[in-house]
Amino acid sequence: MTPQDLRAMANRIRRRDLQAVYEAGAGHIGGEMSVIDILTALYFDVLNVDPGNPLDPDRDRFVLSKGHTACALYVTLAEKGFIPKEEISTFLKPHSRLNGHPNRTKVPGVETNTGPLGHGLPVAVGMAAAAKLSNAAWQTYVVTGDGEMQEGSNWEAIMAAKQFKLDNLTLIIDHNRLQQGAKLAETNDIAPIAPKLEAFGWAVQEIDGHDMDQILKALSPETVVPGKPRGIIAHTHKGNGISFMSDNVAWHHKVPNAEQYKQAMAELEEAAQ
């Protein structure tokens, strides 16, 4: 896919995500809008994964540690062909495979169950360590929220990744500066994040997490530094693409009413032109 195609795909995923959250009456739309460009780049340019063989031992591994944005992952997996597109309309319905947080025992393409924050990165460290032990070429990618980085388990994993020289591991932090109830700056300000990762021996890049060209460049093999895990601080906007949601903490898990839905959809449709 060309970067232009990827941008169109991200827009399509945004619209389907918005519709699913609206129809289900629940979801985490702010964090979904902020992570969708990253998910799109990963699934449609970077990851070596095959919907026809989701458990191929040589597949790249991807972990969405900020599991509350599951709906964005489900829509992306559907676009990629891991689950039927029609199934998105079952999101949160009784007995649906698609509950509020991704479940690997039910949804093909999901590698580990997330939802409690601060779990994905340690699991990803184990995946990358397994690849090293097997001399395998596959790569491990993990996306965390920035508020999520307040969990101590992440920093334990960050130290381990450097110790194990996991240059086959990429951590992307969705740095939208907002957590559930407030700004990080008003809660537990871990910014600036890049120097902290660098201090732990990681190779760090800072990018605009909504600029497809920058995302692709940061994820390209050329930016890997031998012996160092790779960290990408993606500067993003919670609710990105929808004016009244953007950078507004109220939209962490608020659901748009009919009028707001119409406006949001109109804005996304206009951006698709």
């Binding site: 509020g100 409690p116 999520e148 307040q150 969990e151 559930q180 109830g181």
Partner: protein, 319 residues
């Protein structure tokens, strides 16, 4: 009063919690609230506005939250730690054991949205192991109030009580069951309905369903005793033994796995002191499918009908 059909005012027990906490904090400067980015979900907005210095928000860091609370208690404060019950108990469990219970720190743990209140958010967000986890730890009381009145009374009790306590609250609206002047007594069950054919023991949201079930049973000529057993530890042994001796069969209902919770605590007493037939209703040891709290409770046989049916079947096993 408990007819299934009657429309009644529903209370979010979090409101009773924060109203009581604020009232106490106004009188007692030792009271502080501690949370994990959970100001909104714990309804602490007004507490924060009134007592900005006394809201300690550690961010998304539950282990730290529990440790910090132990330190605050050591420094003479009375911390009420408020967060989603699943993360507060699961993530902070070793801190709860070592820093709070074993160290006998005067910390009040308030698990919000416990049980399956988070419904469709799924098993990661359900708190259906917390009775078992915390009950297995010495020196910490475990309490699950059933309505707004009991919530307020238990919170007030917790502030006066010296020692560790875990309070388990829901977010789901419930009608008021107990009288306005109800006083909470730790380790004392309330008999909400008298009967001699069978006893139904429940707490939290399930107390309401148990009472509805008792009405259905009464229509079939079965008189069920209903005990609201808010305190899971220390358990009310006397009430359980009386129920066993006087009604000959005990059914428990809980918004928790059937492994190690209220039903298990009751069964321990029954087995040791007064063996009678028992049936334990709860989450049957599985990760629940997608669904709302009410959907899942019904699914697991805890609709009023399901509870009544289980009680009737249990009675057939009476000697």
């Amino acid at each position: 009063m408990n007819a299934v059909t009657e429309a009644v005012k529903l209370h979010d027990c979090r409101d009773a919690f924060t109203a009581t906490l604020e009232a106490m904090a106004a009188d007692d400067p030792r009271i502080v609230a501690v949370c994990n980015d959970s100001v909104g979900s714990s309804k602490l907005n007004q507490f924060r506005d009134r007592f900005p210095d006394r809201l300690v928000n550690v961010g998304i860091a539950e282990q730290n939250m529990i440790g910090v609370s132990a330190g605050l208690a050591n420094g003479g404060k009375i911390p009420f730690v408020c967060g989603a019950a699943c993360f507060l108990t699961g993530r902070g469990l070793e801190q709860i054991k070592a820093d709070i219970a074993y160290s006998d720190a005067n910390v009040k743990l308030v698990g919000i949205s416990a049980g399956m209140a988070y419904g469709e958010l799924g098993p990661t967000h359900h708190s259906t192991e917390d009775f078992a986890w915390i009950r297995a730890i010495p020196n910490i009381a475990v309490v699950a109030p059933c309505d707004n009145i009991e919530t307020a009374a238990a919170i007030a009790f917790a502030a006066e009580y010296t020692g560790p306590i875990f309070l388990r609250l829901s977010r789901v609206g419930v009608p008021q069951l107990l009288p306005d002047d109800h006083r909470f007594e730790l380790g004392k069950a309330d008999t909400l309905r008298n009967g001699s054919d069978v006893t139904i023991i429940a707490n939290g949201v399930l107390t309401h369903r148990a009472l509805d079930a008792a009405e259905l049973l009464a229509a079939r000529g079965i008189e069920a005793r209903v005990l609201n057993m808010a305190t899971v530890r220390p358990i009310d042994e006397a009430a359980i033994v009386s129920a066993a001796e006087e009604t000959g069969a005990i059914l428990t209902c809980e918004e928790h796995t059937t492994f190690g919770g209220l039903g298990s605590a009751v069964a321990e007493v029954v087995v040791d002191m007064a063996p009678v037939p028992m049936k334990r209703l709860g989450v049957p040891g599985i990760f629940p499918p997608t669904g709302s709290e009410n959907f899942l409770l019904d699914e697991f046989g805890m609709s009023p009908d399901g509870i009544a049916e289980a009680a009737a079947r249990l009675m057939q096993r009476k000697a």
